[in-house]
Symmetry: C2
Subunit: 507 residues, 2 copies
């Protein structure tokens, strides 16, 4: 009888594990376990699993996903055979074992993004990642129909990163209630902060996956100040509880980035000690060391903090990327440099021209730049500012502007450069222009919105170069007749948005 | 016999004085005396005259004008009867006396410009002077034909101040030799620095007068760094000799301003002590206390120097006028904020749009802005950069750009405002926009090159206002229907260059 019970237990324990026996490298190996749904599974149950390929051990936390189901997600970074063993204070979840095969990543899977060569990014497989982000803060909280439209827009390949809030947002043009709430309870503020709403997080996971399928990184904003539900005021313990939960849920998605905050300095509820604590918590608890950043309102964070992978800047002087590189010795992303749009706030009424200009100036100074779009229509102005209009920046949907096509044009130029581009030291240092280069093989010079009829370029004497005139607005690339070497006078079309792409002629 | 000689001497002394017996207020009363032309009249002869209207005494220096003729120029600032007595170490020039009547200024004569209400300018008769300057550094050295063309252009009323060098200029597009040289001797560098060439200064005086007849102030640049003749390297004694001479010659012209230098910090030959010395010299020697400034290259001068009447700035961030007002407590003129043009130097290839934008941003931040234009044509680029092309900024001539008409449009708006405009404190302080106002009667708000579809304006509650939408580029002024009061939502055309003119409705 005891044997029978043991056998049944073993059988049941296998049955309760629904897991694949193979997984692609950098994809998710998920263990699903049935467990106790009494009491408060979120707080009562501890669950983790240790994965091993014989050489490396990695312990990852599990989480309660509702309806008596517990999950553990693992993103294998090494191909080959893996085994695991669970550990829990709940007998039903304790000491579950399994094995699976991790096979090579397919061609479209490059793995998570990491910092490369101090100032740049690459996917784990070595492919360079040039960050061209956009912002739809509340897009995951708008329901399927609008999310589908957003994804359809994104499928056009303008961007490879999305800044998005985990918590719903309360702000002009974000006044509707979200479809779901992160905690059990009732809006506006009657929450049981000890119980998550798994559906809420499942929805976000679906969006993270959808972004990933489009090659887009999900730059998840952990906290933000625009809130009417009380989530910005949670205490330290609740914040940690929340962070541990989202690490357990989201960290196995390869395209996840952690942004501690949007506009940390606008959150009076939190002190500097909170932010350094959160950064540290992610650094300690995320098994995969996803990129970590924190985004400012007006006061730029001290990005020398070694646990921050890159500087996430709000400031419209993208040309200062060169200075910030020296200051922080990290990749510099101007995630917010004002948005193309027409709203009454100055951060959201740039012309498309200025948005494009800010991208070019950031890039040719060795930084990366983020896009946003904030167009309202006239009837909305008449109705007032709290309307339900769908602005890309707030909810996603469609793009109405003119900058995103030009950003894609620039993205294509950068992605087809021969390597990571570095600011050219002393390039016309007293002039407001900038240039980046790859060794002596490739130069990209940008002359802003000025209109020179000519420029002198100082090329290495020992090689010959092809020169192409780019118009960043018209999206044209026109070769200049001849081959150039040394100090060269290039005639230009006397138009704003002129750039030069200069490529060494191989012998 | 002694009596006869005495009589003859007296007669001759009267004959040798050619002077009017009346003069308009703020115009020039000139005494011309025949004297000795032996030796070096520039160094040997001291000459001055003391003018009195019974209440005020004013002593002014005379100067040698060549061919045995000595002159004393006086600009009476008070109407009524004046007498004078000369004083000289030369007997022929000594103790000459005369009298004349100063009559009221005519309608077109407002007198010299002075500082008014700390941050502004006015003519001596009280009429406000809003500085809208331009720059033709070498225009007086290009001969009559081109000067006539320059004056014809200026007659269109775009500008009311001209920045111009006293010494000839050596720079790209200023490579031709001047028609005249300021000293006796031979070019390039063989000069007798003890002997001026009166013709050289007569030519400049003619230009100063011609400008005055168009209502244009002559902002005379005393020293500048672009020189191949050695004038920038003169020693302290020669510099003082030169300054005393131009004060004696030019100071009586009501429209003269003294600019110690263009780009003082680019003149390695001179030290800070030289500049403070020159400023002091003008303050001591100029009988009329004409406006005094010094213009920087990259390092802004310390304009807190109490002997400087206003700050003459080179910097393209004209929106910082508001800050500079607080710093210097003087009128702020951005005499150089880059120029409209197409040359290879970034300071001379702004689009007309940016030039206009810089004017509006400067003005709506409580400053003044200067214009310049630097267009070359394509053939010039092919020939290289030292060509003889006539650029407005270098030599005058015609204007080819698109900013000057818009500057005139703005000038007209400012000149028809009800009074001096002051930056609105805390106007959307976190936004990049700016506004100036006259009391609670008049507001001028500018929204840069952004494209808001609406803006909220905070008007006083107790009055009603008319709102007009200005497009600073299209040069249109369109009234908004209705009367506004308190916090008002204004619909805008979603175009760059939008400004609002808001005028209180009188009861």
């Amino acid at each position: 009888m005891r044997r029978l019970i043991l056998l049944l237990t073993v059988l049941l324990s296998f049955l309760s594990i629904s897991a694949q026996n193979k997984v692609e490298r950098w994809r998710i190996y998920e263990i699903s376990l049935n467990g106790d749904s009494n009491g408060n599974p979120f707080t009562d149950v501890q669950l983790s699993a240790t994965f091993s390929n014989g050489e490396h051990l990695k312990t990852v936390s599990g989480f309660y996903d509702g309806n008596g189901i517990y999950k553990i997600r693992f993103m294998p970074q090494i191909t080959g055979s893996w085994t695991y063993t669970t550990s829990s204070n709940s007998k039903a979840l304790q000491n579950k074992k399994g094995k699976f095969e991790c096979y090579s990543n397919t061609e479209t899977n490059h793995g998570p993004v990491v910092v490369k060569n101090t100032f740049n990014f690459a996917y784990a497989d070595g492919k360079p990642h040039y960050s061209f982000g956009t912002t739809c803060y509340g897009w995951v909280h708008q329901g399927d129909s609008l999310a589908s439209l957003t994804l359809k827009t994104l499928a056009n390949g303008y961007f490879n990163k999305m800044r998005m809030c985990i918590f719903p947002k309360d702000y002009d043009w974000n006044k509707n209630e979200p479809a779901l709430y992160p905690f059990e309870g009732k809006p506006l503020t009657d929450w049981d902060y000890t119980k998550f709403n798994p559906e809420y997080f499942q929805n976000i996971e679906k969006r993270i996956e959808q972004l990933d399928s489009l090659g887009i990184e999900a730059d998840l904003i952990i906290f933000h100040p625009y809130d009417r539900w009380g989530f910005k005021k949670m205490d330290r313990k609740t914040n940690d509880f929340y962070i541990n939960y989202i690490i357990a849920r989201f960290a196995a998605y390869k395209n996840v980035w952690w942004s501690m905050a949007n506009e940390y300095d606008f959150m009076n509820e939190k002190k500097m000690d909170d932010w350094t604590h959160f950064i540290k918590l992610f650094a300690e608890k995320d098994p995969y060391n996803h990129l970590r950043s924190i985004h400012n309102g007006t006061k730029i964070f001290d990005h020398t903090n070694p646990l921050l992978s890159h500087a996430s800047i709000q400031n419209d002087e993208t040309f200062k990327a060169k200075e910030l590189r020296l200051k922080y010795k990290k990749p510099i992303i101007y995630d917010e440099c004002r948005y193309e749009g027409n709203i009454n706030w100055s951060w959201g009424n740039l012309t498309a021209e200025e948005m494009v200009n800010k991208f070019w100036r950031g890039i040719t100074n060795g930084g990366f730049v983020g896009h946003g779009e904030t167009y309202v229509n006239e009837s909305s102005v008449k109705r007032g500012f709290k309307s339900q209009d769908i602005l890309w920046w707030s909810k996603g949907g469609v793009l109405r502007g003119q900058s995103h096509e030009r950003i894609k044009f620039l993205k294509n130029i950068i992605e087809t450069a021969p390597g990571y581009l570095t600011p050219v030291v002393n390039f016309e240092s007293w002039m407001p222009y900038s240039a980046v280069s790859y060794k002596d093989e490739y130069f990209l010079n940008y002359y802003n919105m000025d209109q020179p009829l000519s420029q002198i370029v100082n090329l290495p004497e020992k090689s010959k170069y092809l020169v192409e005139i780019i118009n960043a607005w018209d999206m044209t690339i026109t070769p200049v007749n001849g081959e150039f070497s040394g100090k060269s006078l290039i005639q230009l079309p006397q138009k704003p948005f002129t750039a030069l792409r200069i490529t060494k002629i191989s012998k």
